[in-house]
């Protein structure tokens, strides 16, 4: 179980302190947990704090009861936290197979790599020895990023907007990947997403707004709030009235 206690995060912008997250208290233990909310609400910051990429200004993070607030990125990764970047990183000279081997923590075989790539909808043969460099498209990078997390089989897997840029691959497949991951790890999959179809499979939805938790609960509880409740854009409604 992952627990966030009173997490706050401040950043400096033009000499001014800005509060990105304030007093986040959250227990995450369900199968699929979705974090959603408008742009700038602090979703990605929250994910980076859990992975250890950002250090919270205040508060504590506990993994299975162990305080990991001061643990490094590497230690947290070794303790069982995985993080799929919103914008995957490119490397000159490192191949897809190299990367999946690093993720799996051992040398993977070509058939294993092929299986992992097929799971994310890539024709394996064409990719095994491709470099993770600028020659791969954004969508291809996204799928390889997901395959890396699959290879790790950790108890907490965080995905930052996994659906972005993979429009040709169906949501159904992405959801199947999450289900398979859960079946293999029995862990928690934390997904940052704006997509209704992803929110629809969540056991727990966390709605962030302006750096705070606006609402948290089962999808039956939170979904109605999300759909059709936003304030309409004045410029557009004024036009309609005219």
């Amino acid at each position: 179980m992952l627990e966030l206690k009173n997490i706050s995060f401040q950043a400096e912008d033009g000499g001014k302190e800005i509060e990105i997250l304030r007093n986040i208290n959250l227990k995450i233990e369900d199968r699929f947990v979705a974090v959603t909310g408008p742009n700038g609400s602090g979703k990605s910051t929250l994910a980076k704090i859990v992975a250890g990429i950002l250090t919270p200004t205040e508060g504590q993070i506990l993994l299975d009861g162990v305080d990991i607030t001061d643990r490094s990125i590497t230690e947290r990764a070794q303790m069982g936290i995985s993080f799929a970047f919103q914008q995957p990183v490119r490397f000159k000279g490192i191949t897809v197979k190299d990367m999946l081997s690093i993720a799996a923590g051992r040398e993977t075989t070509v058939p294993e790599v092929c299986d992992m790539l097929s799971e994310v909808g890539l024709c394996a043969r064409d990719y095994v020895n491709r470099e993770i460099n600028a020659s791969l498209s954004g969508g291809e990078m996204k799928r390889i990023e997901i395959a890396m997390i699959m290879a790790r089989k950790t108890k907490v897997s965080i995905f930052d907007e996994p659906e972005a840029g993979i429009d040709l691959w169906s949501f159904q497949n992405l959801i199947r990947v999450f289900e398979k991951m859960h079946a293999e790890t029995q862990g928690t999959i934390l997904i940052i997403s704006h997509q209704e179809r992803i929110l629809n499979i969540a056991d727990q939805i966390v709605l962030l707004a302006d750096g705070r938790i606006e609402k948290v609960g089962g999808r039956e509880e939170v979904m109605p709030d999300l759909l059709g409740t936003g304030q309409p854009c004045r410029t557009l409604t004024d036009k309609l009235i005219q």
Binding site: S82, F91, I94, A103
Partner: protein, 305 residues
């Protein structure tokens, strides 16, 4: 040959035993083995130190190994090797030099290689430089390569220096005739107080000639590197050079490109990028469980692969 020389031979030429095909092995300034074939002849020069390698026209899928190993501290030598590659050949030439210096005097090898590649011949040329030994004497290597490509000829040169060379000045000049192509891939890693200088000058003289120079390097600790490339387009041609360097610690890297177009249809491009390892690359690998140091090693290994 002793164990040290055999180790050097393995490092620079990947050889465990005598290679197949033609070869000439030079150890501590003397010939340690030679083999010629029906198509490839190796002749000792009479006027100075070195050999002539003559490859008959039409020779296909054959290789020549000419490794050099130095294990005697303080030995300094200049060797002149000329390659005459006949028309329509398709061959691989593997050179390379390993220096083991366990003493206090500087050891140096200067290999001057000239290639005369005739019409439509294809050559893959591989050279690898390596140094070992914990003596205080410097290990110095100054390879000079001179390439003459006739019409339709093609040469691809791979040059690698990953470890142990204290000082190197690498000079490569080439002239490329009509329809001929030259590709040079260079990989260098320096550490400690090492110094590496690369100097390419290529003249494209014929219509549809081309050159592609690709340099990837890593400079660690207090080492210094200078990459200089001059491409001159004297005809309708394509020239491209690329210097991509990772800089670490207190190292220094300079990239100095020079492009000269003397013809309206000369297409010349230079790209250079020097920078430290991107923070997000380190972070990504750390989220996969590597330490910062392991992540750095993976990135460097991949970059120089």
């Amino acid at each position: 040959m002793d164990a040290i020389q055999r180790e050097l031979l393995e490092q620079v030429a990947g050889l465990h035993e005598v290679p197949e095909g033609a070869y000439n092995i030079r150890a501590n300034g003397e010939m340690a083995g030679r083999n010629t074939t029906a198509n490839i002849d190796i002749i000792t020069k009479e006027d100075r130190s070195g050999i002539d390698i003559r490859i008959k026209p039409g020779t296909k899928s054959e290789s020549v190994h000419i490794p050099v190993v130095l294990s005697q501290s303080g030995l300094q030598e200049s060797v002149y090797n000329d390659f005459f590659v006949g028309e329509d050949c398709d061959v691989t030439i593997i050179a390379g030099c390993g220096i083991h210096n366990g003493g206090s005097a500087a050891s140096a090898h200067s290999g001057i290689h000239r290639f005369f590649v005739e019409k439509n011949a294809k050559v893959r040329y591989v050279e690898k430089h390596y140094g070992s030994g914990d003596g205080s004497g410097e290990r110095i290597m100054n390879p000079t390569t001179e390439i003459h490509l006739a019409e339709g000829a093609f040469l691809e040169m791979e040059t690698v220096q990953i470890k142990g060379i204290d000082s190197t000045a690498r000079t490569t000049t080439a002239e490329v005739a009509e329809g001929a192509g030259l590709v040079i891939k260079e990989k260098i890693m320096t550490h400690g107080k090492q110094y590496a200088e690369t100097d390419f000058t290529v003249h494209m003289n014929g219509t549809d000639s081309s050159v592609n120079l690709i340099s990837r390097s890593v400079a660690k600790e207090r080492s210094r590197q200078v990459f200089r490339s001059r491409i001159v387009g004297n005809a309708s041609c394509h020239g491209h050079s690329e210097c991509d360097a990772i800089i670490m610690d207190e190292a220094s890297v300079s990239a100095i490109p020079e492009l000269t177009a003397n013809h309206i249809d000369a297409n010349l491009i230079h790209e250079a990028a020097i920078g430290k390892i991107a923070g997000e690359q380190l972070i990504k690998l750390m989220t996969l469980g590597l330490t910062e140091k392991e992540a750095e090693e993976q990135i460097v290994k991949g970059f120089l692969k």
